[in-house]
């Protein structure tokens, strides 16, 4: 193991359930210290992929290593360097928050008072100190989620797997989990998360792999994914309204797409396949001596991206 090995390195992972190829040949490289999102609709294979990487399922084909440890050859080393927070809070409802954390701390090897100290540190960090002696069945959804993530951090993992970390949370709880994930990444933990929310991947992840029907259909930074779908919008404001028509014609010529005029009339918007095309079109305007008050390249939403990639309206 050296510092250059990626946190997760997978080649050709396959998992079959009967006739269903839940994961159908996925390659994945997650660099260390990154928040990496696996985006896809329900049933796309996200959870199955993550469970394989967390040693909970044996892949039928393919190979993978996590923090430099081979999944098949050294599952114990993999387990020692990861933590997983499943889709449903994996906590003992009958025990208190503190007892849940102490249980796991003891399993990791914290003895006596140390287990209690570690539990209390995490409770304080996750704003659960007041609920330390409450049974988990009396926790709210957001509190459970926080405790669940805290339970994954008894020992700082190399990679933290988060399976749909905000599914079912209200907007406030969701924001607070996002904040926590960012802070964790800031402390150097690699985070691999699955999500079916476009905005979540966009907000958190440095890279996104889009998965559908067990296959990876696209991967890149959020920006790259948006650009790859070619549905960016170039917005232009012309300084001299008299030259608006001329500018619209030039844009149409260079981008081969219909130009829309804004309601107030001073702005033009047109689909640009890439920043390069947009740049060329802008260049043509400047070459023609048309003065621009302002211009911007607007991103399509990830929802539009997913639509463009899969032809499905909504994941």
């Amino acid at each position: 193991m050296n510092s250059i090995t990626p946190a997760v390195h997978a080649r050709g992972l396959v998992k079959k359930f009967g006739d269903l190829r839940a994961v159908d040949g996925i390659d994945l490289d997650v660099p260390r210290g990154m928040i990496f999102a696996i985006l896809g609709p329900n049933g796309a294979g996200k959870t199955t992929l993550m469970r394989m990487l967390a040693t909970l399922l044996h892949p039928d084909e393919g190979a993978a290593s996590v923090m430099g440890h081979d999944l098949k050859a050294a599952p114990d080393q993999v387990r020692a360097s990861i933590a997983m927070t499943g889709q449903f809070a994996s906590l003992d409802e009958d025990l208190t928050g503190r007892e849940n954390l102490m249980l796991l701390a003891r399993l990791w090897g914290f003895r006596g008072k140390l287990a209690r100290e570690r539990a209390d540190q995490l409770l304080a960090t996750f704003d659960l100190a007041d609920a330390a002696t409450k049974q988990v069945k009396d926790y709210s959804g957001g509190m459970r989620r926080r405790l669940d993530i805290a339970a994954s951090l008894i020992v700082t993992p190399g990679v933290l797997f988060l399976d749909e970390p905000t599914t079912g949370l209200d907007p406030v709880a969701r924001k607070s989990v996002w904040g926590m994930i960012r802070q964790l990444a800031g402390s150097g933990v690699t985070i691999l998360l699955t999500t079916q929310y476009m905005d979540e991947a966009d907000q958190l992840a440095a890279r996104i792999a889009v998965i559908d029907h067990g296959k990876k259909i696209a991967e890149g930074t959020p920006r790259e994914l948006k650009v790859a779908t070619g549905s960016g919008f170039l917005h232009v404001a012309v300084a001299d309204p008299a030259r608006l028509e001329e500018a619209a014609k030039l844009l149409e010529l260079h981008l081969r797409a219909a130009v829309q005029r804004s309601a107030e009339g001073g702005r033009l918007a047109v689909v640009a396949k890439s920043p390069k095309d947009a740049n060329a079109a802008l260049g043509a305007l400047i070459d023609a001596g048309i003065e621009l008050a302002d211009f911007s390249m607007g991103s399509p939403s990830l929802e539009e991206v997913f639509f463009a990639l899969t032809g499905k309206a909504k994941p």
Partner: protein, 262 residues
């Protein structure tokens, strides 16, 4: 944030210490869910009282002499029924995803089962102790004294341990705790009623008596009576141990296989 600073792993604990932690969890469950203790002992207390006073006179001449025969049997019945709890607990843990967390930890993979067993042994000891106390109050007298009672409790826990594997396997196979209980009881009821626990087999039709006499529950009950009454033979205890030992030898490896299969 103090909790988020890098925290390294302490020296790996032993498999035994992992198992103890799960045992601690079982004890915590008793603390937080005292209701389960109620379930655990109310049924056998009810059985003891009803059978002793309602049927005792008819079955053995007097409630007192019936209790003398019935008490060791109700102990066997109680641990066999109570063994269902670990299977139900396991099924709950699996359906809630708790086992996924345990399985993704670098711990001895059988530690969670060892913890269930610790919980079982505690349950059997508590329930057995309460029933014996009630029996003593009602006039039951173990002729073999303290040593006989200790010996019978050792056998009792072995019986519960052996039976526990049935429910652990069911718990691994079935994701709804209630179904584990229903299926378990469906098999358990005929075994327990068609035994010598409540009624002397001499009064039963020949075909049934033939079954009752080889029913492992009868063999275990006879050994319990022998140990508490001071008349036990080595052979009696030996045949009583066949069922729990066979169940353990068959089902423990099956449990490991089912657990690792995924």
């Amino acid at each position: 944030m103090i909790g988020l600073t890098q925290v390294a792993r302490p020296p790996a604990p032993s498999a035994f210490s992992n198992a103890l932690v799960f045992g601690w969890r079982a004890v915590l469950k008793f603390k937080h869910v005292p209701e389960q203790l109620f379930d655990l002992v109310m049924t056998p207390i009810m059985f003891t009282l009803l059978f002793t006073f309602v049927f005792g006179g008819a079955l053995a001449g007097s409630p007192g002499s019936y209790l003398q025969v019935f008490l060791p049997g109700i102990l066997v019945q109680t641990v066999m029924f109570n063994a269902v709890y670990s299977g139900m607990g396991l099924s709950t843990d699996l359906s809630k995803g708790l086992f996924d967390r345990f399985r993704s930890l670098p711990i001895w993979s059988l530690a969670p089962f060892a913890g269930l067993m610790v919980g079982d042994v505690l349950r059997h000891t508590i329930a057995g102790g309460i029933i014996l106390t009630i029996g003593l109050i009602l006039g039951y007298r173990p002729e073999a004294g303290i040593l006989g009672v200790l010996g019978s409790f050792a056998l009792l826990i072995t019986i519960g341990f052996g039976t526990g594997w049935i429910f652990i396997v069911l718990g691994l196979l079935i994701r709804t705790p209630m179904t584990v209980m229903t299926i378990g009881f469906t098999f358990m009821f005929p075994l327990i009623f068609a035994s010598n626990i409540m009624v002397d087999p001499k009064t039963m039709p020949g075909w049934l008596r033939a079954f009752v006499e080889v029913n492992p529950v009868s063999l275990m009950t006879s050994a319990m009576r022998g140990l508490m009454g001071g008349t036990a033979t080595v052979e009696q205890v030996g045949v009583a141990l066949i069922a729990p030992i066979t169940l353990t030898l068959l089902l423990a490896p099956l449990t490991v296989w089912l657990y690792r299969r995924q």
